[in-house]
């Protein structure tokens, strides 16, 4: 194991919106102290699996920030801390005397990261927002779902994860600057803005062409100047596989290899086996050619199981994968070979996605427990 960050003290006051940020700092080497209200973070009960997944590797302490006494204790912690991360609604920390100006005054080196749905300022900054509203306002919902139904969010909530990874980035940028200047700063993270990268090139169809990208269900619609939808999710024998007829050097080689595989199984029509892929350009291909190709390929993919497809694709350097379920991921030999799964208190977690000089960084302690006794403010 190698943990590249020093054991900086992180005071972690976050709710679900920021849980993953502290986890990242912890697995890279920081000492993360999760400060919870009496009885523990309410997310422990409402979202126990997300709680465990994203609080792994933290220590925990209970403070009741409604009490002046406990707020004083938090200030003492903040004086010693290198980082403080929080995800209360804008203005709340300030209202209890723990805002950026106040904390900066008592520890000028502190990097404070605030994660909120929309950022600290602006016309809707304090509006109530959960994963659905954050995803919808970011534009991400607009781009997903079947064209004949409402657009959808990803059922497994994602915006907190995106907000947290962007927060970790902003936090370490501020840290890098501090190593030179000696001065901390405030990192104001918007969850809504964190999802903008997931729109990929979508915004630019509108901005430079005045074309409105539309959700295509299992079809990709953003790869072609004619707007031709291209199937990317294909039914197979036991589920779905992800495959695209692609352009470029790698794409042409992949298309050719799939057709050769089909021919070997006597499932390639003559015109397909004879097709000249050198002149195939995914960005300019016309709709009727794509339909003809898809109609020829679909029956072949239906004869294969997910893993038959993946293994065959790997042997032939075809650009394709499985549309994995949770079980598929847990059984994936690649992840097992990379020793991704680690057990903490009998529960398996995905870990070690980054290796430093060949060694994984991962959490050294499990999910923190908390004293369940409720305290009452005086």
């Amino acid at each position: 194991m190698q943990r590249p960050l020093a054991s900086y003290l992180v005071v972690d006051l976050t709710t679900e919106l920021g849980w993953l940020c502290g986890k990242i700092l912890g697995e890279f080497g920081c000492d993360v102290l999760k400060v919870e209200p009496p009885g523990g973070d309410p997310g422990r009960r409402s979202q126990p699996y997300a709680f465990a997944a994203w609080n792994l590797g933290k220590r925990s302490a209970v403070l009741d920030l409604r009490w002046a006494e406990d707020r004083k204790e938090l200030i003492e912690l903040a004086k010693k801390a290198d980082f403080l991360i929080e995800s209360f609604p804008p203005g709340y920390m300030h209202s209890i005397g723990l805002g950026w100006e106040q904390l900066h005054a008592c520890n000028p080196r502190l990097v404070m990261t605030s994660i909120t749905p929309y950022g600290q300022k602006g016309p809707a900054a304090g509006a109530p927002a959960s994963d659905l509203e954050i995803s919808a306002s970011s534009g991400a919902v607009w781009l997903a779902g079947d064209p004949d139904r409402a657009p959808v969010r990803i059922t497994l909530p994602q915006s907190a994860g995106w907000a947290s990874i962007q927060a970790a980035m902003g936090t370490l940028l501020a840290h890098y600057a501090r190593q030179r200047t000696g001065r901390g700063q405030h990192v104001d993270v918007s969850a809504q803005a964190s999802l903008v990268p997931a729109l990929v090139n979508g915004p630019y169809y509108w901005e430079i062409l005045r074309q409105m990208p539309m959700r295509g269900g299992p079809y990709l619609t953003g790869r072609n100047v004619e707007g031709v939808p291209m199937r990317n999710v294909w039914p197979c024998k036991d589920g779905f596989v992800a495959f695209a007829i692609y352009g470029g050097v790698a794409g042409r080689q992949s298309n050719r290899a799939l057709v050769q595989w089909m021919a070997k199984e006597n499932m390639a029509p003559v015109w397909l086996a004879d097709l000249d892929w050198e002149s195939f350009d995914v960005a300019t291909v016309k709709a009727d050619e794509i339909h003809r190709l898809e109609e020829a390929i679909a029956p072949f993919l239906k004869t294969l199981t997910k893993w038959q497809f993946l293994n065959g694709a790997m042997d032939r350097r075809i650009l394709g994968y499985v549309v994995s379920t949770v079980e598929d991921i847990l059984g994936d030999p690649q992840l097992q070979s990379r020793e991704v799964w680690r057990e903490y208190e009998g529960v398996i977690h995905p870990t070690g996605y980054a290796r430093f000089d060949g060694q994984q960084a991962y959490p050294v302690i499990g999910v923190p427990v908390v004293d369940e006794i409720e305290a009452t403010p005086t």
């Binding site: 950022g119 919902v141 997903a144 409402a150 370490l172 030179r180 990929v200 630019y204 690649q334 995905p350």
Partner: protein, 409 residues
């Protein structure tokens, strides 16, 4: 740095980028936006795939300098061309690496080694070098060399299975969703390694698996399965806790609003905001279980209400009542969104061929060293002379000889 401007977070850091598409270059973009000097290396024989294979293009006409996706991924960088397969090309790359802090590459595993640019060689030239190799499934393991694009890797890592309707095929996300997860993790890993370098004086090699970073955002489902043996499924816009929880049509074509109700008092506020309609009166709807048992009917009834109103009216009315609500912003709305603009997400610059374009700022505002986005993406080889003659000190004569020899192809 512009005269009078404050130093940025990564001032003084030099990053060399080998690779293409999103996964490597988007990391470099974030570094460049925070003051690092980032040099994007291409070859003329195989330019960055984002230049030619990905619309939208200016006027819908493909061309080297016409692709928005290349532009959005490479602003604020220097662009050079170098033939790494030529001996003199490779030795120029090594000279550049010797005076750099970070190398980012996102080739398939084994490519840098074939080019004679693997970490062992680079770290001999520059022991302080931090090198990030980011690829689909990591540098090692039985599937490491399996090629693929981010859109398909997004499916492999479970996100597609969780998107769409329970009675339909899963729905795609817009392109390489997972790449941008790995991009954030990639810069975090580099910054952590730079912190380590401050203590040890030595760089390191980072092997980042995009697939594995994606699993961090899927972790709640993996942990649930590991704990209970159960797994959840895609469920349209429904939620396990909040009900109702949906996306509803508004007046006009393809105008949608997202509404969710997280407790019983919020339900009562929604009921009054809708004007206390008859259908919302049953007392059973005052509890989660009551609302859950008639969720489909509730969704239809709420849609009947939203359909009569402009989207922004629904948003204003429900926000007034402190109810969870937001517009489903389309790709035009996001440019006008008050909160995204308050975060300074869109930074307009003039690109020499695309024209005016909104480049993207980060998802956070740094109070002391904010991101500066002041240069569009480089044209192919635009900064060759600046880098090779300026940074590396080639004479004009040497430069021209190498150019004639095809070293900058």
């Amino acid at each position: 740095m512009t005269l009078g401007a404050r130093a940025q977070a990564l001032e003084g850091l030099r990053v060399i980028e080998f690779g293409a598409f999103a996964a490597g270059p988007a990391i470099g973009k974030h570094a460049a936006n925070h003051g690092a000097q980032v040099i994007h290396v291409e070859t003329r024989t195989r330019v960055d795939g984002f230049r030619m294979n990905y619309p939208p293009f200016k006027d819908n006409q493909p061309g080297l300098e016409r692709a928005a996706q290349f532009a959005m991924t490479n602003d604020c960088k220097l662009g050079i061309t170098l033939n790494l397969k030529a001996d003199e090309g490779r030795s120029l790359a090594l000279r550049l690496i010797a005076v750099s802090d970070v190398v980012i590459e996102n080739f398939p595993p084994g490519t840098m080694k074939r080019l004679g640019l693997e970490y062992d060689i680079l770290s001999e030239v520059n022991p302080r070098l931090v090198m990030l190799s980011t690829c689909n499934q990591g540098q090692t393991g039985p599937h490491a060399k399996h090629p693929g694009f981010g859109t398909q890797l997004t499916a492999m890592s479970g996100f597609i299975h969780f998107t769409g309707w329970p009675d339909r095929e899963p729905s795609l996300l817009w392109g390489p969703y997972i790449d941008y997860i790995a991009v954030a993790y990639g810069l975090v890993a580099v910054l952590a390694a730079l912190d380590q370098r401050l203590r040890t004086g030595r760089g390191c090699h980072i092997d980042l698996s995009q697939y594995e970073t994606g699993l961090q955002l899927l972790a709640p489902a993996l942990v649930e399965y590991s704990t209970t043996g159960a797994t959840s499924e895609r469920d349209g816009n429904h939620d396990r806790l909040a009900v109702p929880h949906g996306v509803y049509p508004c007046m006009g074509d393809e105008r949608w609003v997202a509404i969710s109700v997280h407790d019983d008092s919020e339900w009562h506020r929604l009921r009054s905001a809708m004007g206390d309609p008859e259908w919302a009166q049953p007392e059973a709807l005052g509890s989660v279980s009551g609302r859950r048992s008639t969720e489909a009917e509730l969704d239809l009834a709420i849609a009947d209400w939203t359909r009569t109103l402009a989207r922004d009216e629904v948003v204003a009315c429900l926000r007034e009542a402190r109810i969870h609500v937001a517009p489903v912003n389309d790709m035009a709305d996001i440019f006008d969104d008050g909160q995204l603009n308050s975060m300074r997400i869109w930074r307009q610059l003039e690109h020499p061929q695309i024209g005016r374009m909104s480049f993207q700022g980060p998802a956070f505002l740094l109070s002391d060293t904010p991101a500066v986005i002041d240069r569009p993406a480089p044209l192919l080889g635009q900064h060759n002379r600046e880098v090779f003659c300026g940074t590396l000190g080639l004479t004009d004569a040497e430069y021209e000889r190498l150019e004639r020899a095809g070293v900058f192809d």
